[in-house]
C-alpha cells in the first residue's frame, strides 16, 4: 500500500467520517493540513476571522444538525483561542472535534515559538484529547475521536497534531470499528428500574416531567411527547431542553428555573413526583438545593451515571439513553387522571403568565414575540448570546421542534450566538437563522460579519440594543443599589456603542435601525426578504428587566415578578 502524509490521512479520515464542513483559521503549525484542504471538494473549509468564531461555528453546526462539528486552529495562540468554545461545548455536551496544530515533536516542552500545552490546557474541558506523536496512530485516533465525541453523553475532543507528524508518511486504512476498553456507554435502561418508574407514576397525584438537553441529543422528542400525552403529565423543560417538547401543547409549562415561568416553578415545587430526563439539576434550575421540590420523589433518566445524585438525591435512577428508556416506559404507561393537578396548573397559568408592559415603547419582549409571529410557518433556528437577550428569547419565542434553539447554557458564553448561528446556517442552508443578541455580546465576535458576507450566509442578527450589559445591570439595580459599575456602554468612562448600521455596511452587510414599536414588523419582514446577512439594531428600553427572576441562591418558590 502506498504511503501518504499525516495531513492527507487526516483529510481522508475526516471524509470517511462524513465531514463536509470544517471551520478554522490557518497558521504555521497547520500549513501542511491547510494545503491539503485547499481545493478539496468533499470538504469545505470555512475561514472565520477569529479561532473563537470557528469553534462556536462548529458547535452551532453540531447543535443544529446533530452531526459532529469540526474546527481547526494553529498551535499556541490559535489553539488557546479555541478554549472558550471547547469549554462551552463541554458544558452543554456538544459533539465537536477540534484539530490543533502543534510545534514539531522534538520541540514540544521547549517553550518553542507558538507552543502551548493544549493537552494540559484542555484536559478538564474535553471529553477526551489526543496528542498524536506517531503518524501511524492518526487514522485510529481520528476514528476514536469522532466515536467519543458523538456517542454516550457527547462532548468535545481535541486532536493535537505536531506539524512534522502532518508531513510524516504512513499507509492509510480507515478503521471500521473502535475498541476502547475504558469507554462503553450504557444505552439500554434497566427494565426493573423502568417498571419502578411506571409504578411511581401510577401512585403519584402531582407528577411533573422535567426534560433537558438530553432529549434533544438523543432525538427522543416524539417519545417524550408520547409519554407525556399518554400519561397526561405536564412537561417543563430546561433552557437546554427548549424544543424538546412543543411549547404550544397544553401540557407544556415552558422553561423552569431562575428565569422560568412561575407556573413551571410552582408546579415543580408542589409536585410529588419529578421525572427528570436528560437533565442535570443545575443550580440555575434548582435554586437553593435543599428547598427544591421538597415533597417530590425523584426519578432520573440519564446516560451519564455521574449526573445522577450529584446535586439532588435520586429515588429511582435509570442509566440509559433517553429514547430507548422512554420507548420501554411508554409500553408500561397508563393514562393518568390528574384533573385536580391540571386545574391547579391552569390557575397558575392564568394568574401568573409571562408578561411585560405592552405599551407604546419599544420593548425587547415584543420584538421576540414578533419574530415568532412572522416566522412560525418557516424552519427557524434561534441562536442567542448570553444575558437578557438570551432569557427573553427563551421566554417569548415559542419553541416547538428540537435543534431550533442554540444557546450557551452551562458556560454562559457571551459571543457564542453569532458564530453559532453562522455554523448552523452552514449546516442548515434552508433554515432561517436568527442570532438574538445584545449590544454587548454581539461585539465579542463581531468580526464574523466578514465571514457571513463572504460566504453569503444570510444570518439575521437581532441586536436588542439597550446600551448596557443588561443582565448584570439588572442585578446591580436589584442587589447593588443601582450602582452600575462598568455596565453602561453608552456613557461615562467606558461609553461608546458603535453605529451598528454603519458597522454592518462597512462589512458589506445590510443594516436596519429600528427605534419605534410600529416599525418592528416591517423591519423583520424586510430582513426576511434580504438574501444576505442583516444586522438589525433595535433601540429598546434601557431599564427593562427579565422577570420572573429567582435571586441566586434562593428557593425557586421565591420569584420576583416585574411590575407589568
Amino acid at each position: 500500500m502506498a504511503k501518504i502524509t499525516g495531513a492527507e490521512i487526516l483529510v481522508k479520515s475526516l471524509c470517511a467520517e462524513g465531514v463536509t464542513d470544517i471551520f478554522g483559521y490557518p497558521g504555521g503549525s497547520v500549513l501542511p493540513l491547510s494545503d491539503k484542504l485547499y481545493g478539496e471538494k468533499a470538504l469545505k473549509f470555512h475561514l472565520t476571522r477569529h479561532e473563537q468564531g470557528a469553534v462556536h461555528a462548529a458547535d452551532g453546526y453540531a447543535r443544529a444538525t446533530g452531526k459532529v462539528g469540526v474546527c481547526m486552529a494553529t498551535s499556541g495562540p490559535g489553539a488557546t483561542n479555541l478554549v472558550t468554545g471547547i469549554a462551552t461545548a463541554h458544558m452543554d455536551s456538544i459533539p465537536i472535534v477540534a484539530i490543533t496544530g502543534q510545534v514539531k515533536s522534538h520541540l514540544i516542552g521547549n517553550d518553542a515559538f507558538q507552543e502551548a500545552d493544549m493537552i494540559g490546557i484542555t484536559r478538564p474541558i474535553t471529553k477526551h484529547n489526543y496528542l498524536v506523536k506517531d503518524v501511524k496512530e492518526l487514522a485510529r485516533v481520528v476514528k476514536e475521536a469522532f466515536h467519543i465525541a458523538g456517542t454516550g453523553r457527547p462532548g468535545p475532543v481535541v486532536i493535537d497534531l505536531p506539524v512534522d507528524v502532518q508531513l510524516h508518511k504512513a499507509e492509510f486504512k480507515h478503521p471500521r470499528t473502535v475498541a476502547i476498553r475504558g469507554y462503553k456507554p450504557t444505552y439500554k435502561g434497566h427494565i426493573g428500574q423502568i417498571k419502578k418508574i411506571a409504578r411511581a407514576i401510577e401512585k403519584s397525584k402531582r407528577p411533573v416531567i422535567y426534560a433537558g438537553g438530553g432529549i434533544i441529543i438523543s432525538a427522543a422528542n416524539s417519545e417524550l411527547a408520547k409519554f407525556a400525552r399518554k400519561a397526561n403529565i405536564p412537561v417543563t423543560t430546561t433552557m437546554m431542553g427548549l424544543g424538546a417538547f412543543p411549547e404550544d401543547d397544553k401540557l407544556s409549562l415552558g422553561m423552569l428555573g431562575m428565569h422560568g415561568t412561575a407556573y413551571a416553578n410552582h408546579a415543580v415545587q408542589e409536585s410529588d413526583l419529578i421525572v427528570a430526563i436528560g437533565a442535570r439539576f443545575d443550580d440555575r434550575v434548582t435554586g437553593k438545593i435543599d428547598t427544591f421540590a421538597p415533597v417530590a420523589k425523584v426519578v432520573h433518566i440519564d446516560i451519564d451515571p455521574a449526573s445522577v445524585s450529584k446535586n439532588v438525591q435520586v429515588d429511582i435512577p435509570v442509566i440509559g439513553d433517553a429514547k430507548e428508556v422512554l420507548r420501554e416506559l411508554n409500553k408500561l404507561i397508563k393514562k393518568g387522571n390528574y384533573a385536580q393537578w391540571h386545574r391547579k396548573i391552569i390557575g397558575w397559568k392564568k394568574d401568573l403568565p409571562l408578561s411585560y408592559k405592552n405599551d407604546s415603547k419599544l420593548r425587547p419582549q415584543y420584538i421576540v414575540e414578533q419574530i415568532y409571529e412572522l416566522t412560525r410557518d418557516k424552519d427557524v433556528i434561534i441562536s442567542t448570546e448570553v444575558g437578557q437577550n438570551q432569557m427573553w428569547a427563551a421566554q417569548y419565542y415559542t419553541f416547538t421542534r428540537p435543534r431550533t434553539w442554540l444557546s450557551s447554557g452551562g458556560l454562559g458564553t457571551m459571543g457564542y450566538g453569532f458564530p453559532a448561528a453562522m455554523g448552523a446556517q452552514v449546516g442548515k442552508p434552508e433554515s432561517v437563522v436568527f442570532d438574538i443578541a445584545g449590544d454587548g455580546s454581539i461585539q465579542m465576535n463581531i468580526q464574523e460579519l466578514a465571514t457571513v458576507v463572504t460566504e453569503k450566509l444570510p444570518v439575521k442578527i437581532i441586536i436588542l440594543n439597550n446600551g448596557c450589559l443588561g443582565m448584570v445591570r439588572q442585578w446591580q439595580e436589584l442587589f447593588y443599589d443601582k450602582r452600575y459599575a462598568f455596565t453602561i456602554l453608552t456613557k461615562g468612562e467606558c461609553g461608546l456603542c458603535p453605529d451598528f448600521v454603519k458597522l454592518a455596511e462597512s462589512y458589506g452587510a445590510k443594516g436596519i435601525r429600528v427605534t419605534r414599536k410600529d416599525e418592528v414588523r416591517k423591519a423583520i419582514k424586510d430582513a426576511l426578504k434580504e438574501k444576505g446577512p442583516v444586522v438589525m439594531d433595535f433601540h429598546v428600553e434601557r431599564e427593562e428587566n427579565v422577570f420572573p427572576m429567582v435571586p441566586a441562591g434562593e428557593s425557586i418558590s421565591n420569584m420576583l415578578h416585574g411590575l407589568a
Binding site: R123, K127, L131, Y183, P305, A306, V308, S309
Partner: protein, 160 residues
C-alpha cells in the same frame, strides 16, 4: 470525612496520571495517597488511591473516574476484603551508641529492617498495612525523626 480505598485499572500511557490527578484537583476531591505501577499486563497500570471524603463525594469520585476514557475499571475496596501494603523509609536521629541500640531493639522486635547507618542517623525500612506503619512511626518518634518517605498504599482484593 472517611477514608476510602479504590483501585483503578488504567491504560499505561503518558498523561493518564495527569488526567486522574487533574480530575481530583478540578473537582476538589482530596487524595490521601496515590500509588501507581504496571500490572501483569504491561498495557495496564494499577492506581491505588486513598480518598478522604464523605459518602456522597466518594460516589462522585468513583463515577467521575469511570468517566475518564483511559480508566478501564474502578474497584471500590472499602468495606470488602482486601490486602494492602505500604513501604516506608524513616531516618531517625541516632547520635549515641545507647540510642542506636534502642533503635536496633525496636527494629528487631517489630520485624522492620535497618537499611542504612550513618554517623548521626539510621534509616529504617518497613512495609505493612496502615496500622503497622503507624505503630512503627510512633515507636521511633521519641528519638527524633529526621525524614520520612513512603510509597502510599497499594492494595489487591482478597480471594475469598
Amino acid at each position: 470525612m472517611d477514608k476510602f480505598v479504590i483501585s483503578a485499572l488504567v491504560e499505561n500511557k503518558f498523561g493518564v496520571l495527569a488526567r486522574v490527578a487533574g480530575l481530583f484537583s478540578s473537582r476538589g476531591f482530596n487524595i490521601d495517597s496515590l500509588a501507581v505501577g504496571e500490572t501483569e499486563d504491561p498495557d495496564i497500570s494499577r492506581m491505588t488511591i486513598v480518598v478522604k471524603a464523605d459518602e456522597k463525594i466518594f460516589e462522585q469520585v468513583k463515577k467521575q473516574l469511570n468517566k475518564l476514557i483511559d480508566v478501564i475499571r474502578v474497584q471500590d475496596f472499602t468495606g470488602g476484603e482486601y490486602v494492602d501494603r505500604e513501604l516506608i523509609l524513616i531516618k531517625v536521629k541516632a547520635g549515641s551508641t545507647t540510642v542506636r541500640e534502642k533503635i536496633v531493639h525496636i527494629v528487631d522486635s517489630t520485624g522492620a529492617e535497618i537499611v542504612d547507618i550513618g554517623k548521626r542517623s539510621v534509616t529504617v525500612e518497613d512495609s505493612g498495612d496502615e496500622h503497622r506503619i503507624k505503630a512503627l512511626i510512633e515507636l521511633l518518634r521519641p528519638y527524633g525523626i529526621l525524614e520520612i518517605a513512603r510509597t502510599g498504599k497499594i492494595a489487591l482484593q482478597s480471594d475469598v
